[in-house]
C-alpha cells in the first residue's frame, strides 16, 4: 500500500498546478459529500426512527387503554374494535391482545412469531420489546388503575392507587416506511449535495483558472528563459504577489543577462588562454625533448664505442645527467599539465618488472646511489605484463626511488612490488619504497606532498631538488585511482607505500618484450653458496634463489667457506656456484674462494659477484670471478648467467634460441628517414647502421614526397614536427600518391618526441602504420625493422 501511495504521489507531483488544485478540490468535495451524506442520513434516520418508535409506543398505549374493557369482559368483539381503532395507523402489521394468563384474546395479522418473553414485572408504559431489520415489536400491560385519573395522586382519604393487570397487548410495526424514507433521503441528500458540489466545482474551476493563469504564463516564460531565449520579460496582472513576482523576475532576468554577457567574455578569454597554454606546452615538450633526444642518443652511441675507462665514465656521467634532466623536464611539464587538468592517461600493456629494473638501475648508477644498496623485490605472484600508463608509472617510481636515494647516506633503498588483490580483469599492486635515510619529522609528514615543499629550503641545503617530485607523485597516483602514504620517523628512515589498480593484460602480449627462457634455470635445481653480510641483500638473494629454485646456503664470514664446502662434499651435495656480494677491498673472500677452487672437487664451482655498476671496471673485479652482475639485479642478466652456468643441467628444449638477426635480404631494403634535426638524423642513421642498414634522408615532408616520387622505399621513418610540411601532411600526400597505384603501400613509422595517445592517434589517422617514441631503445627499433621489413629467420 505504501509503495502504491508513493507511486501515485510521484505521478501527481509531476502534473500542472491547475490540475493539482482542481484534483484537490474534487477530492475535498467528494469527501465532504460522502461524509455529509452519511452524517445527514444517519441523523435523519435516527430522528425518524425515534419518531417511529415514539409513534409505536403511543399506538401500543392507545391499544392497551382501549383493550381494558375487552379484557375485562373477555370480549373478542370489543378487542376487535380496539384493534381496528389502531389499524388506521400506518405500518401496523400485526396486533395481539393477551389475557392476564397470556392466552390470546384477539390477534390481527399473522406475519411472524411474536418475539420475547413477557416478564411478570413489566413497565406500566409501552416498551420496544424487540426489533430487527424489518419490524419493531412493542408491548404494554393493560392496567386498570384507580385514583382520580391514571396519573394524578390519590386523595388523602383513601389508600394508594389500586392497579391490576388485566392483560397485555403487542403491536408489530413494519420498518418499510422507514427504509423507504431512508433510501429517499439518501438519494435526495446525495443528489442535492452533488448538485451543490458540481456548481461549486464549476465556480472554483473559473476561480482556479483565473488564479493560476498568471502562474501558467510565469512557468512558460521561465521555460523559454531556461531554453536560452534572451530579452524575456513578464507582464502579468493579478494579485499583489503575482505583480511582485513579475517585477522580481524581470529584474532577475536583466541581472542574469548582464552576468551572462560578462561570463561569455571571460569564457572566451579563458578558452583562448587555455588554448595558448596548451599550444605552448605541446610546443615546449617538443622543443625540449628534441635536443634531449639528440644528447641522449649520441651519448648512448658514444658508450658503445671503444672508450677508455675514463672516457666511459665521463660518457656515463653525462648520460645519467641527461636522464635526470629529462626526468626533471618531464616533471615540470607534467606539473603544468596537471595544474591545467590537461594530463591525459593512456592504457598500454607493458613489462612492469622491466620498468622497475630501469628505475632502480638509473638511481643505483648515480653518485648518491653508489654508496648504498639499491635493490628491488618482485612478488612472484605478480604478472610481468600489466596495462596502464607506463610513462606515469615509471614517473611515480622514479620520483619515489629518486627521493629515497637522495635522502639516504648509507644503508639501502629497496623497492618491494607486492600483489594486494586481483580478480579476472583487475589487479592492485603495492609499491613499497623503504630506505634507511634521514627520515621525516612527524610534523613534516603532512607537508611533503605539497608542491615546492622541501625539507630544507636554505641555499646550502645538501639534498637539492625542485620540490615537485612527491607533489606530482600524489597527483599522478590519484589520476590512476591509487593512494599513497608514508611511515617515517626522523633519523629512522622512511617507508613510502603506493597502491594502484591496474588492468590485467593478455598473456604473451606480442607488443611487450619479456625476458626469454625465464623458467630454464628452475629446471637445473641448482645449489648456491651465498656469501654476504646479513641484511637487505641477503633478502634479495633468498628471493632470487627461491624464484629460480636454487638451494641456498648462506654464510657471512669467509672463514666458513671451507667448512661449507667440506660439508657439501661429505653430503655429496655439491654447490654449483658461489654468489658473493662483498666488496673485495674489505674482505678476503675472493682469495679464499680462489684457494678452495684449487682443489679439484671445487674447481668447477662458478663464481658470481654482485657489484655496483660504477665498479664494473674497477679493481673490485677479481680475476677469480666468472661472472659479474651489476646491482640492482636485472632479470635478464641473472637468467642469462644462470643458463650459462647450468646449461649442462637444464633439460633439452627448455632453452629457446635468441632473437632472430636480420638476414642479408633484409639488409638490402631501402629506407627513407624524414627528420629535420641533424643530430636526430645521425642517431637514427647510426642505429640503422648497427643493423647493417643504410637509409636516405629527407629534411622535411616536401622533400620526402619528392623522394617517394623518384624512389621506391621499403620503409619510411617519419618525424612528425617539421617545417614547411610536417609528417602528418606528408604521410597524407604519400598515401594520395599511392592510391593511384594499385597495391602500393609503403610502411610509414612515426618517429617523434610527441608520445601521447592523441599524437599516436593523429599519426594513425594521417595514414602512418606504426609509432616509435623518441628517445627510442635499440630493441624497439629492432622490432620495428623486423616487423615492417618482412624479417626471415636465420
Amino acid at each position: 500500500m505504501n509503495k502504491l501511495l508513493i507511486k501515485v504521489n510521484k505521478k501527481l507531483a509531476r502534473k500542472s498546478f491547475r490540475y493539482q488544485v482542481s484534483l484537490l478540490f474534487i477530492l475535498g468535495i467528494a469527501i465532504i459529500v460522502f461524509i455529509a451524506s452519511i452524517a445527514i442520513n444517519t441523523l435523519t434516520t435516527q430522528i425518524i426512527t425515534k419518531d417511529y418508535i415514539k409513534q409505536g409506543e403511543i399506538i401500543t398505549h392507545v391499544l392497551a387503554n382501549k383493550s381494558a374493557i375487552a379484557l375485562l369482559y373477555g370480549s373478542k368483539e370489543s378487542a376487535q374494535d380496539a384493534v381496528d381503532s389502531i389499524l388506521s395507523f400506518p405500518n401496523v402489521k400485526q396486533v395481539v391482545i393477551l389475557e392476564a394468563n397470556l392466552k390470546p384474546l384477539y390477534q390481527f395479522g399473522d406475519i411472524r412469531e411474536w418475539q420475547g418473553v413477557i416478564k411478570t414485572e413489566v413497565s406500566p408504559n409501552p416498551v420496544l420489546e424487540f426489533e430487527d431489520n424489518k419490524f419493531w415489536q412493542f408491548t404494554a400491560p393493560v392496567i386498570i388503575k384507580t385514583g382520580n385519573s391514571g396519573d394524578t395522586p390519590n386523595t388523602p382519604f383513601e389508600e394508594n392507587a389500586n392497579s391490576q393487570i388485566v392483560g397485555y397487548v403487542k403491536v408489530l410495526l413494519s420498518k418499510e416506511d422507514l427504509h423507504d424514507i431512508n433510501s429517499y433521503l439518501t438519494y435526495a441528500n446525495t443528489a442535492i449535495i452533488i448538485l451543490i458540489a458540481s456548481i461549486l466545482f464549476l465556480i472554483m474551476q473559473q476561480l482556479i483558472k483565473r488564479m493560476t493563469a498568471p502562474l501558467q504564463i510565469f512557468a512558460e516564460t521561465m521555460h523559454s528563459a531556461e531554453k536560452g531565449k534572451k530579452g524575456i520579460r513578464l507582464n502579468l496582472e493579478g494579485s499583489q504577489e503575482i505583480l511582485q513576482m513579475s517585477n522580481d523576475f524581470n529584474k532577475m532576468m536583466t541581472v542574469l543577462e548582464d552576468h551572462e554577457s560578462e561570463l561569455e567574455v571571460a569564457r572566451d578569454k579563458a578558452v583562448e588562454s587555455a588554448r595558448i597554454k596548451s599550444e605552448f606546452v605541446a610546443n615546449i615538450t617538443h622543443e625540449l625533448r628534441t635536443p634531449m633526444n639528440g644528447i641522449m642518443g649520441m651519448l648512448n652511441l658514444l658508450k658503445d664505442m671503444n672508450l677508455s675507462k675514463e672516457q666511459y665514465e665521463y660518457a656515463n656521467f653525462a648520460r645519467e645527467s641527461g636522464e635526470l634532466l629529462l626526468l626533471l623536464i618531464t616533471d615540470v611539464l607534467d606539473f603544468s599539465k596537471l595544474s591545467a587538468g590537461k594530463l591525459a592517461l593512456e592504457q598500454v600493456s607493458f613489462n612492469l618488472r622491466e620498468i622497475i629494473e630501469g628505475v632502480m638501475f638509473l638511481h643505483a648508477s648515480t653518485e648518491r646511489g653508489n654508496g648504498i644498496e639499491v635493490n628491488y623485490l618482485y612478488d612472484r605472484k605478480l604478472p610481468l605484463i600489466i596495462k596502464s600508463d607506463q610513462t606515469r608509472v615509471r614517473q611515480i617510481l622514479n620520483n619515489l626511488v629518486g627521493n629515497a636515494v637522495k635522502f639516504t647516506n648509507y644503508g639501502h633503498v629497496t623497492l618491494h612490488a607486492k600483489l594486494i588483490s586481483e580478480d579476472d580483469k583487475n589487479i592492485t599492486i603495492q609499491f613499497h619504497v623503504e630506505d634507511t635515510g634521514i627520515g621525516i619529522d612527524k610534523s613534516d609528514i603532512g607537508k611533503i606532498f605539497d608542491s615546492y615543499s622541501q625539507r630544507d629550503n636554505s641555499t646550502n641545503r645538501p639534498y637539492g631538488g625542485a620540490g615537485l617530485g612527491l607533489a606530482i607523485c600524489k597527483e599522478l597516483i590519484q589520476l590512476l585511482n591509487g593512494k599513497i602514504w608514508v611511515e617515517s620517523e626522523a633519523g629512522k628512515g622512511s617507508q613510502f607505500f603506493v597502491e594502484i589498480p591496474f588492468l590485467k593484460a593478455r598473456q604473451n602480449d606480442e607488443e611487450v618484450d619479456i625476458v626469454e627462457n625465464l623458467d630454464a634455470p628452475k629446471e637445473a635445481h641448482a645449489r648456491a653458496l651465498v656469501i654476504c653480510p646479513p641484511g637487505n641483500f641477503l633478502t634479495i638473494m633468498e628471493d632470487l634463489c627461491q624464484e629460480y629454485q636454487i638451494e641456498l646456503e648462506w654464510i657471512s664470514e669467509g672463514r666458513r667457506i671451507q667448512e661449507a664446502l667440506q660439508k657439501s662434499l661429505q653430503e655429496n651435495n655439491p654447490f654449483d656456484m658461489f654468489m658473493v656480494n662483498w666488496p673485495n677491498t674489505i674482505s678476503n673472500i675472493m682469495p679464499l674462494i680462489a684457494k678452495m677452487k684449487q682443489q679439484p672437487a671445487f674447481a668447477q664451482i662458478k663464481v658470481i659477484q654482485f657489484i655496483q655498476q660504477q665498479l664494473i671496471n674497477s679493481d673490485e673485479r677479481h680475476p677469480i670471478v666468472d661472472y659479474f652482475i651489476t646491482k640492482p639485479i636485472k632479470q635478464g642478466n641473472i637468467v642469462e648467467i644462470l643458463i650459462k652456468i647450468l646449461k649442462h643441467k637444464i633439460p633439452q628444449g627448455f632453452i629457446k634460441p635468441k632473437i632472430i638477426k636480420l638476414s642479408k635480404k633484409t639488409r638490402e631494403k631501402k629506407i627513407l628517414v624524414v627528420e629535420d634535426n641533424e643530430v636526430n638524423q645521425r642517431v637514427v642513421l647510426a642505429t640503422l647502421k648497427k643493423f647493417g642498414l643504410n637509409a636516405d634522408v629527407a629534411i622535411n615532408g616536401e622533400v620526402a614526397i619528392e623522394s617517394c616520387k623518384q624512389n621506391h622505399y621499403d620503409l619510411i621513418l617519419m618525424d612528425c614536427q617539421m617545417p614547411i610540411l610536417d609528417g602528418y601532411d606528408a604521410t597524407r600526400k604519400i598515401r594520395e600518391l599511392e592510391s593511384t597505384v594499385e597495391g602500393k603501400h609503403t610502411p610509414i613509422v612515426a618517429l617523434t618526441a610527441n608520445a601521447s595517445k592523441d599524437d599516436r592517434d593523429r599519426c594513425f589517422a594521417s595514414g602512418m602504420d606504426d609509432f616509435i617514441a623518441k628517445p627510442f631503445k635499440i630493441d624497439r627499433m629492432s622490432n620495428i625493422l623486423n616487423e615492417w621489413l618482412n624479417v626471415e629467420s636465420t
Binding site: I69, L72, I144, S149, N162, Q164, V166
Partner: protein, 315 residues
Amino acid sequence: MFRAFSKRATVLCFWLTLVTLCQLAGAEDKVVLLYPKIDEPYQRIFDEIIKGIDKEATFSIQKKVVEDKYDPTLIAEWTEKQNPDAIIALGQRSFQAIQNIDAEVPMLIGAVINLSKKLESKSIAISYAPNPTIVFSTLKKLTPNIKTVNVVYNPIEMGWLIEIAKEAAIDADIKLNTFEATNFKESAKIYRQILEKMDNKYDALWLLQDNSILDDRVLLPYILEKSWKDNLIIFSSNLSHVKKGALFSLYPDNYNLGIRIGKLINDIKETESFEPNLRPLEDVKLAVNIRTAKHLDLRINYKLRQQFDLIFPRR
C-alpha cells in the same frame, strides 16, 4: 413587724394560688390531633374539620402535622410524650401514623375511606362513606319510582357498610341487590350483567367509593356510557362520579364533621366511656348532575333544587 409578716404571707398565698390554678389548668384534658400536610384543595377540607373540632372541643388540642415522608417512630414518640387523653387522626396518612402508637387512649379517626382492614378495637372511626339511610332517602326524593337498588361491593372494604345499607333499604322500602366482587374483572362482569338487566324506570345502580372494584378510566366510563344510552339511573358515593355523569352523590360536610368529632371527644371525656366502632358519615351535602337528571326526564322543582349543595355541570 407584724405588718411585714402579713405582707409576706399575702404574697406567698398569691403565688401558691397561682401555681395551683396553673396546675388545675394543666389538669384540663389534652387531645393530640394528627392531620396531613397536603396541597389544595384537600388542605381546605382538613382546615374545615379542624375548625369544627376547635369550635366544639372543651379540651386542649395539640396539633401535629404529618408530613408526606413522615417517620412513624418519631410521630409515636412525640404523641406519647404529649401524654394525651385522646388522639384524633384525620386522613389516611394520620391513620397510618397512629398504627405504631402504644398509648392506651381513645383514638378517633376521621376523613378516611378505607378503614375496615386496619381498624383497631380501640378507635372510633367515622368513614367518609355516607350513611345509606341518607343515601336512600335522597334517592327517593329525586327518583321516587325507584324500587330496586343494585350495588357491587368488596366485602373486605365495604362489607360493614352494606350491612347498614341492608337495614336502611328495608326502612326505605327499597329492594337492595348486593353483589360481591374482589377485583375489576369480577366487578366488570357483574356491572355488565346488572346494566343489561336493569329496568330504567324502577331500577338504580349505586356506585360505592371502592377503588378495588371500580376505576375511573375503564369501568366507570363504560357504566356511565351504558346508563346514558339506556337511560339508567346511576348514583354514587363518590362526588367525582357526579361530574362525570352520575345522577347524584352525597359528599362530606367537613365543618359539621369536625363539630361531631369534637362532641364525640367531649362525650368520651364526660362519660369516661369509650366504645370503639365504625360508623358512616352523617354530615353530608348533596351534589346533583342536572344534565343527567334532564336526560332521565326527572322533574326537579325549585324547592328540591334549593336542597342541592352542588350542581353539575358547573356554570
